[in-house]
Symmetry: C4
Subunit: 202 residues, 4 copies
């Protein structure tokens, strides 16, 4: 299995999952409520759409940064990549769940925890895949010395911490969970500095 095929297939799944997110936004129909009011009530869907879209976008960027460091992909990498895509493929569902429950009087804490949990699961699958690659120098480009590999693993682990916080925050407020997830993608979108601790592959 060539690296290029893994990359193309992963890109396909990621592009589809990111585009299916739009199905979580309810399309109003003419009715007594008034469209302006209906659209106002839809804002959790838009917020969840934006946060999920950008989060998947960040994973896509990191996925390529990871694959760029590889010269080969073995059976275990293929399996870990499939697990990563499996979790990523659930995000349209967890995003729709978050959109449905963000403002609900019951279930909003659990929904927010599931939402942030799906991001954490994605991050953990990514860390596992990256960690496996870093532990198998035969798969890696020659220029990655042990210190650079350790540094990449460390950055990845740090990158999953906000999602742990977002799950914990769900006990307080589903809005807080969404805000933490949004902060992660805003952080990524900021212009990079050389000291950026998670820029490379988390």
């Amino acid at each position: 299995m060539s690296k290029a095929r893994v990359e193309a297939f992963s890109d396909g799944v990621i592009a589809i999952a990111i585009t299916l997110l739009v199905l979580s936004i309810h399309v109003p129909t003419p009715g007594p409520g008034g469209l302006a009011h209906e659209l106002g009530r839809e804002w959790p869907s838009f917020a969840a759409y934006v946060v999920s879209f950008l989060s998947i976008g960040v994973i896509w960027i990191n996925h390529h940064a990871m694959l760029r460091r590889l010269v080969a992909v073995d059976h275990t990498m293929l399996t870990l990549n499939l697990l990563l895509l499996l979790i990523l493929g659930i995000l349209p569902w967890s995003t729709a769940l978050m959109a449905n429950f963000l403002r609900a009087s019951s279930g909003q804490h659990l929904a927010a925890a599931v939402y942030a949990g799906s991001f954490l699961a994605m991050a953990v699958a990514f860390i596992a895949m990256q960690g496996y690659a870093m532990a198998h120098p035969a798969l890696l480009r020659a220029e990655l010395d042990p210190a650079a590999r350790r540094s990449i693993i460390r950055r990845n682990r740090v990158g999953s911490v906000p999602y742990v916080l977002a799950i914990a925050a769900a006990a307080l407020s589903s809005y807080l969970t969404l805000a933490i997830c949004a902060a992660v993608v805003v952080f990524y979108a900021l212009p990079r500095t050389t000291a950026d601790p998670v820029r490379d592959g988390s």
Copy 2:
């Protein structure tokens, strides 16, 4: 991040969004109404489908014209591209909204403004991305002199004007908004002349 990957991923998202548009057309089921009557009532869905499909097609063509001028993609370009795709990904929703409300007695003005607004947002994201590229010669092919760059930016800005008009027209009639958006794609589909002011990248 190589330019080719950005292109392939963007193509994927654009191809999916354009194909998901069909989900905004309601599929009649057997019932008392009569199929001919049902299909007749569906025409706003078909009109919105055609206009949105061709508008996304035009953006796809312009997106490639833009990337063809680049030799590299930096972090800011990646972020702007992701924002462009985020807005593009919402079009299946705004198209379905337009289809639902075009003939409604209430909400049709707002729905049309949202519809044209989603195109304007897409054009603005495109202009931002193009403008950033034009302001960073290190990203560009050598043959683009400052005059050519200014000309491209000017054409892009002109290309967004019809969508501003379409939003304003929504206050008068949702049909007028749809007609203006349709006129934009018809204009693009016309055989090109060398004097065509928006042909290149808007």
Copy 3:
């Protein structure tokens, strides 16, 4: 716009449209009816799915045969290709319509005509694109002499005749329409002989 990009984007849209066809098959839920009975009632959906899937597959094969003969793609070709994809993108809708109405006591004739009509529209868009290419030798590989070009156009036109018959047959029976559309794809799937009149590009 390079030929490769047009090919890749078209492949994307075709692959998505062909895969969205499955959404036209209703998924039964537990209920008083009994699953065996429910699945039996679903057969029009499966039949329409199979015929549409293979018809899109045939168009995909022909689309590549067409592009293989080209050395360049101009603005008009791009526009015609976008129109072809626009029609192709409607097939998940017309397939679902056919599935809903095949056995209905009212509307089945119109639904069948719309279904075969969507295939005819696709064939006509294909013929227009092929015809334009054949009329512009600058776009073509050098080895295509005028006789070969006329032969390709003739085959294409012949290939659209069954769909005209299928639309006419809708006045008699929706089953007959589906059978004619099915016969077209079975004909294509047969092992090729050198005398096969539509094999090349229709």
Copy 4:
């Protein structure tokens, strides 16, 4: 038709089908039931999602292993590949069916048989395609001697046996069917040994 195009198109369809699986998981809405209870009731959807996702992933890996052995693709291979994709395209439907009926008091046996049957049909289409390739040495890379070809065919046939068992098991329990299908993918995900009997192309 080049091998690369067949591969790219197949990858597209497989990536879309695998990502559409998420639509089979119901998204709860706020209501009297309580979200925790609702999510608990959704577990058959998640189980079916995971098993189907990984099963399609395994077919994707095997599909590439098969194409890697080829130097050309003829008309019959194209047709067989289209049939394979047609069956694969139905999996989002059969997965949703399994999810809906796994715990039902009526219909669960039939739904499980249909579910495992869709995997068996996919395996049979794969075996037919592989068998055709192995019987036509002109399509194959030179290094495949007759013994290697017979071995590949044998492994493929063995790989379909679990799905026959899973269909038979549906008469006993839909859970048993799902467990057998899950065992197949777990088996594939295990680190490979040189004695792995189905690793290569089944």
